[in-house]
Amino acid sequence: MLTIDSKGGGLLVITGRLDAAQCGSAQAALDKVDGVVTLDCNGLEYISSAGLGVLLKTQKRLLAEAGKLRLTGVNRHLRDVFMYSGFDQIIDIETAG
């Protein structure tokens, strides 16, 4: 349903659906990273508001530690969600293709 793989060097690859049912495991995975973290979203099909909460919490923690979270490979649907929620103003987002 959802996997988050660490590729080292602050790069994480997320695949699947980040919905309310997956928030717990996603949060646990993201709590382990530090510094400037790039989340490769090419395989992320879906994100719900609960998923946004996970990203918000992570970004706040990283910023406080002088790091940050950035997203790459964000698809059109996800981009809409980030835009409607104002998350495009608090997380660096790079869209796919």
């Binding site: 349903m1 309310a20 929620s85």
Partner: protein, 557 residues
């Protein structure tokens, strides 16, 4: 003998008459006035007692003399008599003494009481060397027609031939224009009988349209709510033009009347057939599908007089079922009885496709027909569209296929879809989310819903479902979800029984422009749902303690 040598002998009067004739003939005339003018001029110039003009009818290979308005013209074979010989050989025939000439037929004189002494017949040949007819003058007032008269007549005949040909062409053009206007009027009448509004029946989507090949077509359709259900008609009369257009218009009117009067399908079919048989030409008939759709039993009963194929997209099996005609075409012959009507079950997502052969048999420039396989392919791929959009799609594909080849036959489409519906019950738990996702995905696949709607529908449904799980924990163990397609898109209803009232539409929007330090997780779900879908409403029943959230997502058009 040259004309020039004779022109010197023309009197001033003769010259004046010929010039007058030339001038008059150049003016626009109707054919009848033109012929009268030619005859009068010929009599005057050639000093003849009588004159007549015969016109050549190339189609019938006959020579025709218009005697007077209102009387049938005299027709003779183009090979008969002096007129025929003159026309055939394209030379002047001058007979000084008719009764001494064996070729002369005295019957005409006997009938009229007139005695023909001498006669001159001249061919009328226009500048393009086309035979126009023949001019004949009888009985020179002071003797016989001589060589001088022949030369004079030849000058006159040349003028007349060109003028007559021009008048005939003008008449043909005017006739064509009159015909065009009549057809235009007939088209307006015919098109005005076609339904302009489609029946509005919840759970169904109807579309009908007709595009005639020429001004008037032999196709018709009907989609109308009657007491017996929704009347569904597609008719195609043989041929084009006013007669077939009238036949199908008549049929459509009779059917509506019969059903308004409470007739059942079989009675209406038999009676309309028998009436049409009496009023339609012997070699004409109308192929027609006539059906009545019961929108509560979801069953369409039909009779098809020679109208096929009847394509039925079955959503459940994702296949087409093809039905053939139940009987012979309407108006073909009298009918006493009819086999029982055929019934089709319209399951959710099913589409009935009725197209006139103008679609199936549309030929492209390579002489290839559009065919059934292409129609099936388009319907299967685009069945999730509204029927109006599917119709437009079919026409667009036919147009692309044609590669500029003109439309030879009328094109008529009748499309009936029963909207797709699905109902599911889910445990009130976040763990139910995967089965919710699968339910939505199945629905989209089965009914061919535009995949661009999947994300927002998934999103809204999940947010609302999660909300129900989180905030209405006191509710029943299960949540019910209903999905339905409609012409513009999709509608989803979440029903939560034994729940407290919680109106999701009253939740304020989140403040999304706050700096990150001030932003808190949560509160975004409904904010986003409102932006992702087109309409959200809420309904609560105190009696049942039932909470119902409904949202719609429409296709952008």
């Amino acid at each position: 003998m040259s004309l020039r040598s004779h022109i010197g002998r023309l009197t001033i009067e003769d010259m004046e008459v010929i010039l007058n004739v030339t001038r008059d003939l150049a003016a626009p005339h109707d054919l009848e006035a033109m012929l009268n003018g030619v005859v009068a001029a010929a009599k005057q110039v050639l000093k003849a007692e009588r004159g007549s003009v015969w016109l050549y009818d190339a189609d019938a290979d006959e020579m025709v003399m218009e005697v007077a308005t209102g009387i049938a013209p005299v027709r003779i074979p183009a090979s008969a008599g002096f007129v025929g010989a003159c026309a055939r050989e394209r030379r002047v025939i001058n007979v000084p003494d008719c009764y001494a000439d064996s070729r002369f037929n005295p019957d005409v004189d006997r009938a009229s009481g007139y005695r023909t002494r001498c006669m001159m017949t001249l061919p009328l040949v226009d500048h393009a060397d086309t035979l126009v007819g023949a001019m004949q003058v009888l009985n020179k007032i002071d003797g016989q027609f001589d060589a001088n008269d022949e030369a004079l007549a030849a000058v006159l005949a040349a003028q007349c031939a060109v003028a007559i040909q021009r008048a005939r062409m003008t008449e043909a053009i005017i006739e064509g224009e009159k015909m065009r206007r009549e057809l235009e009027t007939a088209r307006i009448v015919q098109m005005s009988t076609l339904p302009s509004k489609m029946p509005a029946v919840a759970g169904y989507d109807f579309h009908g349209m007709s595009r005639p090949a020429s001004q008037t077509g032999g196709d018709t359709f009907d989609l109308a709510v009657v007491d017996q259900g929704v009347l569904v008609v597609l008719g195609d009369a043989t041929g084009h033009g006013i007669a077939p257009a009238l036949s199908v218009t008549q049929m459509q009117a009779m059917l509506r009347m019969a059903f308004r009067l409470g007739a059942d399908l079989e009675t209406a079919f038999i009676n309309v057939n028998n009436q049409l048989e009496q009023t339609t030409a012997q070699d004409r008939f109308i192929t027609a599908f006539i059906g009545l759709l019961d929108t509560t039993q979801h069953r369409i009963r039909f009779q098809s007089g020679g109208q096929a194929p009847i394509l039925h997209w079955c959503a459940q099996s994702a296949t087409f079922e093809r039905r053939g005609p139940t009987t012979f075409p309407l108006a073909a012959m009298q009918m006493r009885s009819l086999r029982p009507s055929v019934s089709l079950e319209m399951a959710p997502g099913d589409v009935l496709v009725l197209l006139s052969d103008g679609v199936y048999e549309y030929c492209n420039s390579a002489d290839e027909q559009f065919g059934e396989a292409r129609v099936e392919g388009i319907v299967a791929e685009h069945r999730g569209l509204s029927m109006a959009a599917l119709g437009a799609r079919i026409l667009a594909e036919v147009h692309a296929f044609a590669q500029g080849a003109p439309q030879e036959d009328d094109i008529t489409l009748v499309l009936v879809k029963r909207e797709g519906t699905a109902n599911g019950t889910f445990a009130r738990s976040i763990d139910a989310l995967p089965s919710l996702v699968a339910f939505t995905s199945d629905f989209f696949t089965r009914y061919g819903v535009d995949p661009t709607l999947l994300y927002p529908v998934d999103f809204a449904l999940e947010e609302l479902f999660t909300n129900v799980v989180k905030y209405a924990a006191g509710g029943g163990a299960r949540v019910e979800i209903d999905m339905a397609t409609h012409a513009e898109g999709i509608e989803v209803v979440l029903t939560d029984y034994h729940a407290e009232r919680f109106d999701v539409t009253e939740v304020p929007d989140a403040k999304v422009d706050l700096p990150i330090e001030q932003r808190r997780p949560g509160g975004l779900g409904l904010h986003l749902v409102r932006r992702m879908v087109d309409h959200v409403d809420y309904e609560y029943s105190d009696v049942e303690r039932r909470s119902r959230i409904r949202f719609r997502k429409n296709l952008r058009t």
